[in-house]
Amino acid sequence: MEWFLANIDFIAGLTGQHLIQSVVPLVLAVVLAVPLAQLARLNRTVGAVILTLSSILYTIPSLAMFVFLPLLLGTSIISPVNVIVALTIYAVALLVRSTLDALESIDDGVRQAAVAMGFTPVRRFLTVDFPLSIPVLFAGLRVISVTNISLVSVGALIGVSSLGTLFTDGLFRSFPTEIAVGILITLVLALVMDLVLVALERLVTPWRRQAPAKGSTPETVAVEAYRVGA
C-alpha cells in the first residue's frame, strides 16, 4: 500500500498508456472492420480473401508481431505504435467476421422494405444495415477489449511501457507487491472498460431496451435470436 501511494504518479502514467494502447485499436478496428465486412458481403471473392487473411493474421503470436512490426513500419522497437498496430490487426480480424455475420443476419423483410421504399445503397447501409449490426458489433468489442487489455502487457517484454511494466519490473526486482498491484489494476481496467462498453451499447441501441408489449411477434423473435447469436 505504501509502495502504491509512493509511486502513484508512476502507476497512473502506466495506466494511462495501457488504456491508450488498448482503446485506440478498438476504435480503429470498428472504423476498418465495418467497411471491410460490407465489402466482403458485396463481393464473394473479395469476401473469401478478407476472411482467409483475417484467420491467418489472427494466428500470429502477439510477441512475434510486436517484434516484427518495427521492421515493417520503421518505428522504434519500444514505440507504443507497434502495440497499437498489432492489436488493431487482431481486432479487425475478429470483428470483420462477426460484423459480416451481423450484416447477413439482418431480417430479409427489413432489407427488402428498405429497397422498396427507395433507399439508395449507401444510405441503406448507413441508416439500416449498420445500426442493426451494432449489437453484434458490441459483443465482438467486449471480447476484444478484454483481450487487448491483457495483450498490451505483453508489450512490456520488449520495453513498451504499460501496466505490464509492473510485471517485468516486479519480476526483475523480485518485488511481489508491484506484480500484485499490476494484476489488480489490469483487472479493474478490464472490468471498467466492459461496463463502459455495455453502457455505450445501451445508449446507442435504445430500441433494445424496451420490453416487447405482446407475445412473440416476428420482430421480437428476430431480436431474441440476435441476442442469442451475439
Binding site: G109, A113, M117, A213
Partner: protein, 389 residues
C-alpha cells in the same frame, strides 16, 4: 407518339391506365420463367388484385413495377412513361409498398418508421413526424403508439403501421404484397374493411397481391388470375370471374364455393321481410310476460337484437345472460349472401333483419331467399342463352 399526344389533348390522360405492362417476361438466372409475356392495364384510382397459386409470379410481377425486379423483356409504363428510364430509388419513392412481414425497421420508433420516405425525400424531421402522427390516426392507431418500437406492437398493429408508412409520402400508387395474410382472420377482415374505407377517400391506384380468392373478390375492382409460369388466365371484375370463369383453371382456383361467393354480388332487394315477435330484455324476469311463438327475439330498449327465447324454455330464461345467442344480421340492402347467412345462422331459422341503426325490422327466411337466388340464376341463364344464340 402522335396518338399519345392526341389522346392526351382529348383528356385521355385521365383515362389512360396508370400502369401498363407490355409483354413483360421475367426469366430468373437459372432459367425459371416467373412471368411470361404478360400484358396488363392497371386502372387509375382502382384496386387491381393479382391472385393465383403460390409461385405463379405475383410478387415478381409486382416488383417489376417498382424495379426491384428488372424484366427480361417487355416494358412497364407508369403514367405512359417507360420506368426503365427513371432512377430506381426515385421511382420507388413514388410508390408505397406494403408487404407480408411488416418489414418495419426494428431500430426506429413507429413514428420514424412512418416518416421514412418523406425523410428520404428531404422533408425536415419535425414536419415528417407531424405528418406521421396524422397518419397513425388515419390507419386507426392510438397516437401514443408512435413512440413505441415495432417489436412492441401486435402483428395487426404492425401491418397498420406498414400501411401508414406506405401512405406517408402520399404516392399515387400503392403496391401491396399479401399485406394481410400473416394476421388472424378477424384482424384481416378489419384491415380489409379499413383499406376499402381509406380507398374511398384516397382513390389511389392500388396493386394488391393475394393468393386468397375471397380477399381478391372483396377488395378488387378488377382481378387478374395468374397461372403457374406467370400466364394470365383471366382479367375481369370479380363478379365476372365468379360468374363466368374463363377456363377450368380459373374455375378450379375460385373453388367449389364460387356459386355461393357470387351471392356477394347479388343485391338482396327482393328479400321479403316478415314481422317478428319481440320481447324487451328487461321484461324477461317477469313471469307474466309470456311468449306466443316458438322463437321470440329479445331486444334492448333501443330495439337492437340481444338473443332468442325458445318458447319451451321460457321459464328458464330470466335475464339477458340466459338467452340463446343469435346469428349474423341482415341489414336491409345487404347482399343475398348476407341474407342467406343470417337465416342459416339463426338458431330459430329466422334471419334477423335490421335497419341502418341496428334496430330490428323483421325476419328473413332461408327458403324464400333460395327461391330468389334460383329465379335470378334461371333468368341470367336464359339471358346468356339468348346472347349465345
Amino acid at each position: 407518339m402522335t396518338t399519345e399526344t392526341s389522346s392526351r389533348s382529348m383528356g385521355g390522360a385521365a383515362r389512360r391506365p396508370m400502369i401498363e405492362l407490355r409483354g413483360v417476361t421475367k426469366t430468373y438466372p437459372g432459367g425459371q420463367t416467373a412471368v411470361n409475356n404478360l400484358s396488363l392495364d392497371i386502372d387509375r384510382g382502382a384496386i387491381t388484385v393479382l391472385v393465383g397459386p403460390s409461385g405463379c409470379g405475383k410478387t415478381t410481377t409486382m416488383r417489376m413495377i417498382n424495379r426491384m425486379v428488372e424484366p427480361t423483356s417487355g416494358a412497364v409504363l407508369v403514367d405512359g412513361e417507360d420506368i426503365a428510364d427513371r432512377k430506381a430509388s426515385d421511382l420507388r419513392r413514388s410508390m408505397g409498398y406494403v408487404m407480408q412481414s411488416s418489414g418495419l425497421m426494428p431500430h426506429r420508433t413507429v413514428l420514424d418508421n412512418i416518416a421514412t420516405v418523406p425523410r428520404l425525400n428531404g422533408v425536415p424531421r419535425k414536419d415528417a413526424r407531424t405528418r406521421a402522427s396524422e397518419l397513425l390516426e388515419v390507419v386507426g392507431l392510438a397516437p401514443d403508439l408512435g413512440r413505441r418500437y415495432p417489436a412492441q406492437l401486435s402483428g395487426g398493429q404492425q401491418q397498420r403501421v406498414g400501411v401508414a408508412r406506405a401512405l406517408a409520402a402520399d404516392p399515387p400508387i400503392l403496391l401491396m404484397d399479401e399485406p394481410f395474410s400473416a394476421v388472424d382472420p378477424v384482424v384481416r377482415q378489419e384491415l380489409q374493411e379499413e383499406l376499402l374505407r381509406l380507398q374511398r377517400d384516397m382513390a389511389k391506384t392500388i396493386v394488391f397481391v393475394t393468393h386468397d380468392i375471397d380477399e381478391a373478390t372483396i377488395l378488387g375492382d378488377k382481378v387478374a388470375v395468374l397461372n403457374i409460369g406467370g400466364v394470365l388466365a383471366q382479367y375481369a371484375t370479380p363478379e365476372e370471374i365468379l360468374r363466368a370463369p374463363a377456363s377450368d383453371f380459373v374455375a378450379g382456383f375460385v373453388g367449389r364455393d364460387r356459386g355461393f361467393r357470387h351471392l356477394s354480388f347479388q343485391e338482396g332487394e327482393g328479400v321479403r321481410i316478415h314481422s317478428i315477435q319481440t320481447i324487451e330484455v328487461d321484461r324477461l324476469g317477469d313471469p307474466d310476460a309470456a311468449v306466443t311463438s316458438p322463437w321470440t327475439l329479445a331486444v334492448d330498449a333501443g330495439g337492437r337484437p340481444q338473443g332468442w327465447v325458445p318458447q319451451n324454455r321460457r321459464s328458464a330464461i330470466r335475464s339477458a345472460g340466459d338467452l340463446v345467442p343469435g346469428g349474423s344480421l341482415y341489414r336491409r340492402g345487404d347482399t343475398l349472401r348476407r341474407a342467406l347467412d343470417a337465416a342459416l345462422s339463426a338458431p330459430s331459422g329466422l334471419g334477423v333483419a335490421v335497419d341502418d341503426e341496428g334496430r330490428v325490422v323483421g325476419s328473413v327466411r332461408a327458403g324464400e331467399i333460395l327461391e330468389l337466388i334460383e329465379d335470378a340464376r334461371v333468368s341470367r341463364g336464359r339471358a346468356n342463352y339468348n346472347t349465345a344464340v
